[in-house]
Symmetry: C2
Subunit: 486 residues, 2 copies
């Protein structure tokens, strides 16, 4: 039978252009240090260079790669640069990228077990592997009462945990009847903003999200938590959920999980542990004391897409009681019914998250774990922590600077002491702006105890000693100029 008219890319073209795209990425990473880390374009500059209308006829693939180079790159902030020390990183690696490519090529939907059994089973398997790799409690295993699922982000994981807590606390009636304005959730003043967003989305309301005080090291105070829960109970409200953080975004503070978990058990609250960034450190047994008490958690999550070399998006989320999660998020229209689901012998991950459709995300995680091996992953995590600790030591030894928080792992919060207290914030803002405008590195800020604080996070895949050394040199150079100008 003759082939029909087609505009699809042929197999030969796919090979040729695919090789070209792979080579372009390899080249990009080889010259990544030549670009300013933070994009220097002005608002609207990228759009202004794009044609007003889409093309009526197709264009050669070569034009696309050229335009990525010419039109897109100037507007890229280079998250994969070894000189990227901002926010938390979003690191990636060769095996992660190629695992994701294979997933795109297979193009399967994993919403149900039956829509691609391997997509579900590899995910369950890798999530079980990670329970052991991170020293998490056995109750999170799929062979016990729990199980793991890959979510897109920690925001979605927190939302799912909050929803399950909401349902459990209302005897599974809030899904039917809606919220009643009487459920209360707890986090700390340092908890990630996604919890506030989750409280908004879930119909709990931010006025019913209590932000518990922190101690001098920005960790949640369990005594303050217990007092607030008891006050809410006396007021006739229904406390249902606590989020404790292993490594807060602002300062990498470690909430005391054991003490918080004990409070949650006493009052029958769902404990969600958010280890989005620092969970990766738990690959190394010597860091696990930072989450002592994790066996009390009802749910836990961390982001391999932050620090475990697995490109975005990849959030790993576990629950101790999968029935609670499934009962919360399950729907079953006729057009999704099938024998495997009815048999009850399989996991349908559709019932473990917000979305229905889902891609084969475990492939990239599997590729990463197998490429590095557990020892390889540990090596690089330890190396990042070592470099950050070295940087903290330099700050400590320089009397123009001070550390602004403990630095338990790979995030260092610090500031220049300024000429005097009045201009300290301005000097630090100026140091950051000068550095980021220079393009040599990129770091971001926070406020701790009311003071502007610089954050340097070592977590980019290719960051080595020389990058951190140069960052410190450049920080001191710009600090001198900023202080002189103040």
């Amino acid at each position: 039978m003759s082939e029909e008219k087609s505009f699809h890319m042929t197999s030969d073209e796919f090979r040729r252009y695919g090789h070209a795209a792979v080579d372009w990425i390899a080249d990009y990473h080889s010259r990544i240090e030549s670009f300013p880390v933070l994009s220097q374009v002005k608002p609207g500059e990228i759009r202004a260079a794009l044609p007003k209308n889409p093309p009526a006829q197709g264009e050669p693939f070569e034009w696309l790669l050229k335009d990525v180079e010419r039109l897109i790159l100037p507007g890229v902030t280079h998250w994969q640069s070894p000189n990227f020390f901002a926010y938390f990183p979003c690191n990636a690696s060769g095996p992660g990228i190629l695992g994701d490519l294979v997933s795109s090529g297979l193009g399967v939907q994993g919403m149900l077990w039956s829509t691609s059994p391997a997509c579900t089973e590899l995910e369950t398997h890798v999530m079980d592997w990670l329970v052991g790799m991170l020293g998490l409690p056995e109750k999170f295993l799929s062979s016990k009462s729990g199980g793991g699922v890959i979510q897109d982000t920690a925001s979605s994981a927190a939302l799912c945990a909050l929803l399950a807590a909401r349902e459990r606390a209302t005897n599974y009636s809030s899904n039917k009847k809606g919220c009643n304005g009487r459920l209360v959730a707890y986090a700390s003043t340092q908890t990630h903003s996604s919890l506030e967003k989750a409280a908004m989305i879930a119909g709990i309301g931010t006025e019913n999200l209590r932000l518990i005080d922190v101690d001098d090291n920005f960790a949640m105070r369990p005594d303050a938590l217990a007092r607030q829960i008891e006050a809410d109970q006396r007021a006739g409200l229904t406390p249902c959920f606590v989020c404790a953080t292993v490594g807060t975004t602002s300062s990498n503070a470690m909430d005391p999980i054991a003490a918080i978990g004990e409070v949650c058990q006493r009052h029958n609250l769902w404990l969600h542990v958010d280890a989005a960034m620092s969970g990766t450190a738990m690959l190394c047994p010597e860091f696990r004391h930072l989450q002592n008490g994790v066996e009390l958690a009802d749910s836990y999550n961390f982001n391999p897409h932050k620090w475990m070399f697995t490109n975005f998006d990849c959030n790993c989320f576990w629950v101790a009681d999968r029935k609670a999660l499934i009962q919360t998020l399950s729907i079953l229209p006729e057009y999704l019914r099938n024998q495997a689901t009815e048999s009850g012998a399989v996991i349908d991950y559709r019932d473990w998250h917000i979305q229905l459709g889902r891609r084969f995300r475990s492939l990239k995680l599997w590729f990463v774990i197998r490429h590095y091996g557990v020892e390889g992953l540990r090596h690089h995590v330890r190396e990042h922590v070592r470099l950050a600790q070295e940087f903290a030591e330099w700050v400590r030894e320089d009397d123009r600077f001070e550390l602004a928080a403990l630095a338990p792992l790979n995030l260092v919060c610090f500031r220049h002491k300024g000429g005097d207290a009045a201009n300290q914030d301005a000097v630090n803002q100026s140091i950051m702006d000068r550095l980021n405008r220079s393009g040599d590195l990129f770091l971001t800020h926070t406020k701790l105890k009311g003071k502007l604080t610089l954050r340097l996070c070592v977590g980019q895949t290719n960051t080595q000693a020389r990058h951190v050394e140069r960052a410190w040199k450049r920080i001191r150079e710009e600090a001198e100029k900023a202080a002189a100008a103040a």
Copy 2:
């Protein structure tokens, strides 16, 4: 300076293995018709072949590709097969896959404009292009009061629309105070299950989601909608949101948008139009009458990852009033503050969806649109519709079969008439099971007016006339056997 010990994939290795992965994908697509479309494995079979523990030391990349072939492929349901006629498709293409690969290689986070301006601006630009390409109202343009954003799935888009409606109806107080159990949302009995899930998640409650009756063609009855809204208002409730569908999942029914929109305007309800599947057809002016009245929508979404050759995930979501959406989903912690955001001159897409982190998804959409051109996309959509209409004609002409619904585009709902009414469902179930077990093609079912109905959807990238012809031949073969056995 000497290089440090590293387990990372080198640049040369990335090229070599990247080429191998691209070639593997090309090979996979070349031999995709040799696999059973629906995976034939039993529950647990894939996991049983995987090692119990993760490797301590890294493994060669060659092993990974071999294991994809050996361990994963048997558990894959081949969504990219031209013989995949199940559910709605999730089609992909060379340019889409390679655009996504470049996105993985860049590895940027687009949560804020400043975290990669090109990621935001290309997305806004392409979403504006699509407004014109689909004949959508100008109010959805970023240059007007609205704007578009790429979401992961239609489930998330519906949730965001419902949240914005919830906030607007409560004068932006539900985020703060939580839901009060008095908000009401409306869909039809045929609306996608994600709306039920959204009502659960958003704290509205499924008891407050009214499922409005449909007419003989499974389209929502605007008169019934109006009556229900008025009854709810009289009961002191707060109607806030209607979801109308352009192409329902079950039968591809078209809700009358103009009439529904008029009801929404009269009662000041948010109208969300879900065109997840059929939105792609609007590339062709001749199909746009199916969504007459779309100018009354407050929000609209469709999935290029279903039918527009853009690999998952890629949902396009527009709002007419971006301020309502942003006010609903905005949070601004100190550590995300920056000059561009404060200036108000830029879009921060973090405030347009549930998640914080986001990947550079517009690249694959840009690649697809430029590779095919508007005319190329139209050609393939028209071809799919033509093939489905031809199939519907064959069903109509065969007196053992009947059409079970209108077939306005590329989904045909049909059934074998069975020996008698009593065994009709069993015969159709048996036809489907036999076909799916044969591996020759994959189709799924629904229930319409209480009867089991087979669905055949033509939307896979490489489906040609010969595949649909063979599907019809195989359906008739298995129908004869099933009817004989009944």
